[in-house]
């Protein structure tokens, strides 16, 4: 088992919380993990990415080779396209549909969607709306993990454990809301693929 995932978005959107939950679940499942993060300048509203690798064998490189990623998991639609050179032939692009528009030349949203829809394996999900619907607008990231969950090679229960670990000290309600977000994301992805 080996999964190479590019996590991406815009600095400040909190992609590292995604890495933390999946990372906890992976380590809890006895897998090796390497996760290269972006710290520093780009965190101020620039494009950010994390190379996230899990495997049942030793992992060497902290970076995913070009053409090697099993998945691009993005919390912003245009950003999901920035890392296409990393995507493997049968890889999946799973992305939130809500643009984060902090530049003057942001493309037409429809043009971005068109590019995403061109890809054989993609899930375009309104994660922000789903998070709002369940009453936890800040759980968008957990919706995204849910949408990716069936491609991660990690048991769903382990992801719930990960959420408990991260949000446990913020109380049971917080944990429940985030688990709900995770489940909603999963349900959406299952329907999307039918």
């Amino acid at each position: 088992m080996k999964k190479d995932i590019i996590l991406c978005g815009v600095g400040g959107q909190g992609i590292l919380s995604i890495a933390t939950v999946i990372g906890y679940a992976a380590v809890d499942s006895g897998l090796y993990l390497k996760q290269a993060e972006v710290h520093g300048m780009s965190q101020r509203g620039g494009d950010v990415q994390s190379h996230f690798r899990i495997s049942d064998k030793e992992i060497f490189s902290d970076l995913i080779p070009f053409g090697g990623a099993d998945m691009i998991l993005s919390v912003e639609p245009m950003e999901s396209l920035r890392y296409l050179p990393y995507l493997s032939k049968n890889g999946w692009v799973i992305t939130n549909d809500k643009p984060f528009n902090n530049i003057v030349n942001y493309p037409e949203t429809e043009d971005v969607y068109k590019q995403i829809k061109k890809l054989d394996n993609h899930i375009l999900i309104n994660a922000d709306d789903i998070a709002k619907e369940i009453g936890s607008p800040r759980s968008m990231n957990m919706v995204m993990i849910g949408a990716a969950s069936s491609f991660l090679g990690i048991e769903f229960d382990k992801l719930i454990e990960g959420i408990k670990f991260i949000f446990g000290r913020k109380g049971e309600e917080m944990v429940n809301l985030n688990v709900k977000a995770l489940e909603a994301g999963k349900a959406f992805a299952e329907k999307f693929n039918k």
């Binding site: 993990l33 290269a36 710290h39 965190q43 245009m78 920035r82 590019q115």
Partner: protein, 530 residues
């Protein structure tokens, strides 16, 4: 055996704590910042009262760490690569004084300049100083090497350089820890004149350093971190340093590398191992993150008769960081097939946070400077450097910490008028104060704007030495009281700030304007805590 999930930086920190370090000193700088931050969060560090406060700059940090070594305890100083330029005076001379308690200079380089103004390779500094260098290839080695480095440091009474690069500093992986060892007792050097670099003593110490080179090389030959891995295909031999070893092995996860490989993680270069691989193989490929240091050592000027491949002959790019694909391409010429980035994807440069006080400061500067044209604002290193990008495009320099004030002085000395320097509060106490003194002594006609957000912002909000001290520092340096003004950079004060800048430009002498408003990031964090 406990396993922790740690960044390379954090593994160094945990290793240092467990190896009995008594103090760590440094100045924040990407990608080195997380080392000290980790020690600051560590319970053990609190219990042991390990020194873990930030220093004013890398030079003061290196000196304090050397002082702790002088007193017999284990110490570390940390910095980014360009920080070593600031600390270089102490660094170079500490190779001559030698150490007493074990001491490690940990430097995190930033090839590809993700968050830096150059990509200098600190190994060259280590070689220059003639001290042993450790270059871990993974997080576990970060941890283990820290123990080993302290031991070598004490065995030969020599400071050690630990060299990281961005991808290791900021990548997380499982690390197995060892039992913690006790701190050293306070113990002054046996030779009480060891650290007195008067010429007569320095000459003697320098000879000792030269004599030790052979021993350092033997340590490298026997190092658990340097490995010779045999291979049957001798058409090529590969020397892979630090993290480049991973990029090589990444291409052989399901097979064995057919070529002999020399993994180098401890310097000086293990000469015998190098001789073995160069005599066995027809061609040598050198994989190193940063400058082609080893490649140049092997080639020299006369090396064209040897078959050395690497960054110098175009087998690998001369600049930028390596990755598994570049390495594979260097081995077999294979180019990987990959998707293109659609043209819809636009660049997304970093920018000021919403509500940042720097925005208001630069709005005022931009309005005033419209009368004079682009070219009058010398700036510095920090979040406020983002004013070089649209929509501001308002600054004309970012060179090194503190250079805004001194470059402004030089430009004013040349007759440029007006000249404004913009510098952050933490950068000012790092290296701006001495330059301001130069300007005060000569009454240079400049306006210095210390953009005070009460933190070290770009690196994530570390404590600033300047907090609540800026006015008294400027007064102490001799700036006229009437020309030191603090303002609150908010929209309502825009006109007042514009007028103030105009007034101070009209004053022939040194003026200091201090727009003061807390960083949005640290403010947010404080509110969250409440």
């Amino acid at each position: 055996m406990e396993k922790l999930l740690l960044l390379g930086d954090e593994a160094i920190a945990q290793g240092a704590i467990d190896a009995g370090m008594s103090g760590i000193y440094g100045y924040p700088g990407t990608p080195s910042t997380e080392i000290i931050e980790y020690v600051q969060r560590s319970k053990t560090a609190q219990e042991r009262n390990i020194h873990r406060k930030w220093s004013a700059n890398e030079k003061t940090a290196a000196e304090a760490a050397l002082g702790m070594s002088y007193a017999g305890k284990r110490s570390m100083c940390t910095m980014k690569h360009v920080g070593l330029n600031v600390a270089a005076d102490c660094f170079m001379n500490s190779a001559i004084t030698g150490a007493n308690g074990g001491t490690i200079v940990t430097v995190a380089d930033d090839p590809s300049m993700h968050s830096s103004q150059n990509e200098q390779d600190s190994r060259i500094y280590g070689k220059f100083a003639m001290i042993p260098i450790f270059e871990p290839s993974n997080q576990q080695e970060c941890y283990d090497m820290t123990f080993h480095a302290f031991e070598i440091s004490e065995k030969y009474q020599i400071p050690i350089m630990m060299r990281l690069t961005t991808r290791l500093s900021h990548s997380r992986s499982g690390v197995a820890t060892k039992d913690m060892i006790a701190e050293n007792e306070l113990k002054l050097p046996e030779d009480k004149r060891q650290f007195v670099l008067l010429p007569a003593i320095a000459r003697r110490r320098y000879k000792m350093l030269l004599d030790n080179q052979v021993k350092f090389e033997t340590e490298s030959e026997n190092s658990p971190f340097n490995k010779f891995i045999g291979g049957s295909d001798k058409s090529k031999g590969i020397i892979a340093c630090g993290i480049a070893y991973n990029y090589l092995m990444e291409n052989y996860t399901d097979s064995t590398c057919p070529f002999p490989v020399l993994k180098v993680s401890q310097y000086p270069l293990p000469r015998k191992m190098v001789e073995k691989i160069t005599s066995e193989c027809k061609e040598i490929l050198v994989l190193e993150e940063g400058a082609p240091m080893i490649e140049e050592m092997l080639k020299g000027y006369l090396g064209d008769c040897l078959n050395i491949r690497g960054r110098l002959d175009g087998t690998l790019p001369r600049d930028g960081e390596l990755n598994p694909n570049l390495v594979l391409q260097a081995i077999n010429g294979e180019k990987v097939e990959m998707n293109l980035i659609p043209e819809e994807v636009k660049g997304r440069p970093p920018q000021f946070c919403k509500g940042c006080g720097h925005i208001d400061a630069y709005n005022a500067i931009k309005e005033v400077m419209a009368d004079y044209g682009d070219g009058h604002v010398l700036s510095d290193i920090g979040c406020y450097t983002l004013a070089a990008l649209p929509p501001f495009q308002s600054i004309n320099s970012c060179v090194d910490m503190g250079a805004s004030i001194t470059m402004a002085k030089g430009a004013a000395d040349s007759g440029l008028f007006p000249v404004i320097a913009t510098i952050g509060d933490s950068t000012f106490t790092h290296s701006g104060m001495t330059g301001l003194l130069d300007a005060v002594i000569e009454g240079t006609n400049i306006v210095v704007m210390i953009l005070d957000n009460s933190t070290t912002g770009m690196t994530g909000g570390q404590d600033s030495h300047a907090l609540d001290r800026l006015v008294s520092i400027c007064e102490g340096l001799g700036v006229e009281k009437d020309h030191i003004t603090r303002v609150n950079p908010i929209k309502q004060n825009h006109e007042a700030l514009v007028e103030l800048i105009r007034k101070e430009i009209a004053y022939n002498g040194v003026s200091v304007i201090i727009p003061t408003r807390e960083c949005m990031q640290t403010l947010k964090r404080k509110l969250k805590k409440k």
